[in-house]
């Protein structure tokens, strides 16, 4: 479970200090799917980075399953990221020189598991996204949808408890977008994952039971029943 208390992240620019995220209080329960919607530059990605321990808040605290991420050393956060958090990126962020299987294995390296188990988990992850037959292909030999499915396989191979997705369908056409979102929904159910999905796409955001709207760094939450009444 995530718990954010008074989280603020400011950046110093030439023109002064900019608050990308301002005073956010938020609780995300285990197995919950939260979509964060908002226009570009309103702090969605910054919030996601804070949740993933990729960045640290200027003030406030973030706890994940009772562990205060803001009080941890870089090494401790890295360990949490390696074992607990899966990332999916808009631009896929695959290593271009590694094959599909090796890209998935790259996520398992920090876990220091045996090579045989690594291969098993890799095969299972690729199978779960329908890419087992493309294990030896380079990312450049895959379509955009296949590359994102590979990104999802890489995020899931480590068997995380949290999946953070930053515009996962932003670079995909409509059909592929639906395919990817359906895949994510299924995998979430199967793996009982907590999912935080950042998107500017309203139709996509509203497939989540709970939606947060980011505006000027501030977050407002709408539940299913709120939407039903609006």
């Amino acid at each position: 479970m995530y718990a954010l208390t008074g989280v603020t992240r400011t950046f110093r620019k030439h023109s002064g200090t900019i608050a990308a995220v301002q005073d956010i209080d938020l609780v995300i329960g285990d197995g919950e799917w939260l979509a964060i919607q908002g226009r570009t530059g309103h702090g969605k990605t910054t919030l996601l980075n804070l949740l993933g321990g990729l960045d640290r808040p200027t003030s406030g605290t973030i706890t994940l399953n009772g562990h205060d991420l803001t009080a941890m050393s870089e090494n401790q956060i890295t360990r949490i990221r390696a074992a607990t958090i899966g990332f999916i990126f808009q631009t896929f962020n695959l290593i271009p020189t590694l094959t599909a299987a090796e890209n998935v294995q790259a996520a398992l390296i920090p876990l220091h598991i045996a090579a045989a188990e690594r291969r098993e988990r890799t095969a299972a992850a690729l199978d779960s996204v329908g890419l087992l037959d493309r294990a030896r292909h380079l990312p450049s030999e895959l379509s955009g949808g296949q590359q994102q499915r590979l990104g999802i396989a890489r995020a899931l191979a480590k068997q995380p408890v949290v999946l953070l997705a930053d515009e996962p369908t932003g670079n995909l056409d409509e059909d592929t977008r639906d395919e990817i979102i359906t895949l994510l929904e299924n995998l979430r159910h199967q793996n009982k994952l907590t999912v935080v999905l950042v998107t500017h796409d309203t139709s996509l955001a509203y497939r989540a039971p709970r939606v947060g709207i980011m505006r000027n760094g501030r977050l407002s939450i709408r539940q299913d029943h709120d939407r039903a009444t609006t």
């Binding site: 990605t45 910054t46 980075n49 993933g52 990729l54 960045d55 870089e74 090494n75 890295t78 360990r79 990221r81 390696a82 074992a83 990332f87 990126f89 808009q90 631009t91 962020n93 695959l94 290593i95 271009p96 020189t97 590694l98 090796e102 294995q105 790259a106 996520a107 390296i109 920090p110 876990l111 090579a115 890489r154 480590k158 930053d166």
Partner: protein
């Protein structure tokens, strides 16, 4: 295993850049190998010249300058002049004497020097010149038909301490035919002659040569090493002392050089100081100090190799390392998103840096291999293209300039000088040996260069905050 796979894939992907970095390192390493080899070659040549001059195992030579003779006409000046009066018949003269300018030391100094701390052995020697003249008859002088030998001919003669034949110039000579001296030869008129002199004078073992009017039987022909040839003939020291003349006296109990072997190279400076205290006024020359007196193209080459070559190699290395570092940092800059992604996946910075260092080390090894090959090619080129060098070395280090040394000064017709401190030029062929040490150093340098480049890139990668790395591109 994943480390190797990732490393291999990255290098394959950036093959052209990897080759450029490796070649940059290779050029630097190749220059270092070539310059080191050329420098070693010059040092070897210099050492060979000095070894020949001193003899194997001789670390220090002690000589003394002759006292300045009085001016002609002043009291005692006659002792410094030899005058021959022409007679009715031509006269043949064979004189064994000191080379001008070289003074005498007492033989008793030799055991004193041998007892000094840090001295392993000491031996006395006499470096002499045997001059053969034909004094023309009165009739020849008046007619102007001087004999062919009227201007004289001189050979250099070394008196060898047979008890310590392993010290001094004779030690570096190799017997080509006949035999060397034995202890039984100490009082015999026997000589070992240099092969060059023997060939020029058509001498063989068993022949005789005239030294101070005595017929010396040649018992052996020696081959001098490169740079040698300090003496045309070697005779037992006792005979040299008995036959040589200086200021109308023989040289019994005298030597003009003491050859010293130090207990260790480190002891040489201390021994020099001790000798200077024991024999004030003597000239104490070590091979190191004599090396500074070697002139000619060998000295120029040594200076070139030591100064320009060294700095050229250092500059090339620094340039190669800098280029490699900049290219690696540029590669890191292009892989910012990749490293950000790896950090997001849970890779710790040291693991990413290690991956980069691995890639750089492989490039460094490739650069080392290519650099060593370039180095061998460079040294081959140096050996093929290097002009023949020459070393000019002093004949009698420690001697004083000659003054008033002439034969028959009255007639003005016959004068013969051997300038002390005069130089003899030795041709030296420059080799450029590539040693295992040089190769090891080159390989270590190349790998170090690769690792420095990798560290520069790794430092940049390690400093990247994952959010910043991901955000910079996305």
């Amino acid at each position: 295993m994943f480390f190797v796979t990732y490393l291999r894939r990255e290098l394959q992907h950036r093959l052209r850049q990897a080759i450029v970095i490796a070649l940059g390192l290779a050029v630097g390493i190749g220059l270092v190998v070539t310059v080191t080899a050329a420098s070693a070659g010059v040092r070897q040549a210099q050492a060979a010249v000095l070894k020949a001059l001193y003899g194997v195992g001789t670390d220090i030579v002690i000589t003394t300058a002759a006292p300045a003779p009085p001016k002609p006409g002043s009291p005692g000046a006659g002792k410094y002049q030899q005058t021959f009066t022409p007679g009715q018949k031509p006269q043949n003269v064979s004189e064994l004497g000191l080379p001008p300018g070289l003074g005498l030391l007492g033989s008793s100094s030799v055991p004193k020097v041998a007892r000094l701390g840090g001295v392993a052995a000491a031996a006395g020697g006499l470096t002499l010149a045997n001059t053969t003249l034909t004094i023309p008859s009165i009739a020849q002088e008046q007619s102007g038909h001087l004999p062919a030998n009227a201007t004289g001919s001189t050979i250099t003669v070394d008196g060898v301490d047979l008890a310590h034949a392993g010290l001094g110039p004779f030690a570096s000579a190799t017997i080509r035919s006949g035999r060397s001296f034995t202890a039984a030869d100490a009082d015999r008129d026997v000589a070992v002659v240099d092969s060059g002199y023997a060939t020029a004078s058509k001498l063989t073992t068993g022949s005789a040569i005239d030294i101070a009017g005595h017929a010396f039987t040649i018992i052996g022909i020696t081959l001098q090493p490169q740079g040698g040839g300090s003496a045309d003939a070697y005779i037992p020291l006792a005979r040299a002392q008995a036959l040589a003349r200086f200021q109308a006296s023989d040289l019994d109990g005298k030597v003009d050089a003491i050859y010293v072997k130090a207990a260790s190279a480190a002891a040489i400076p201390a021994v020099q100081n001790e000798v200077a205290a024991l024999l004030p006024g003597a000239t104490v020359t070590s091979s190191a100090s004599l090396a500074g007196a070697v002139s000619g193209s060998l000295a120029s080459a040594a200076s070139l190799a030591e100064d320009l070559g060294r700095w050229l190699a250092v500059a090339a290395l620094v340039a190669a390392f800098t280029i490699a570092s900049l290219l690696t940092m540029a590669a890191v800059a292009r892989r910012v998103r990749e490293f950000g992604t790896l950090k997001a996946l849970g890779w710790r910075s040291p693991r990413i840096v290690a991956q980069l260092l691995g890639e750089s080390a492989v490039i460094g090894v490739a650069g080392a291999a290519a650099g060593v090959a370039l180095g061998f090619a460079g040294t081959a080129l140096v050996q093929a293209l290097a002009p023949e060098l020459s070393a000019a070395v002093a004949n009698n280090p420690g001697s004083a300039p000659p003054q008033n040394v002439s034969l028959n000064p009255g007639s003005g017709g016959i004068q013969h000088h051997i300038a002390p401190g005069a130089l003899h030029t030795v041709p030296v062929h420059l080799t450029a040996p590539v040693t295992l040490t040089a190769i090891t150093v080159a390989v270590a340098l190349a790998i170090a260069g690769g690792l420095i480049a990798g560290s520069a890139g790794g430092w940049r990668a390690a400093r990247l905050r994952p959010a910043e790395a991901l955000g910079r591109i996305g």
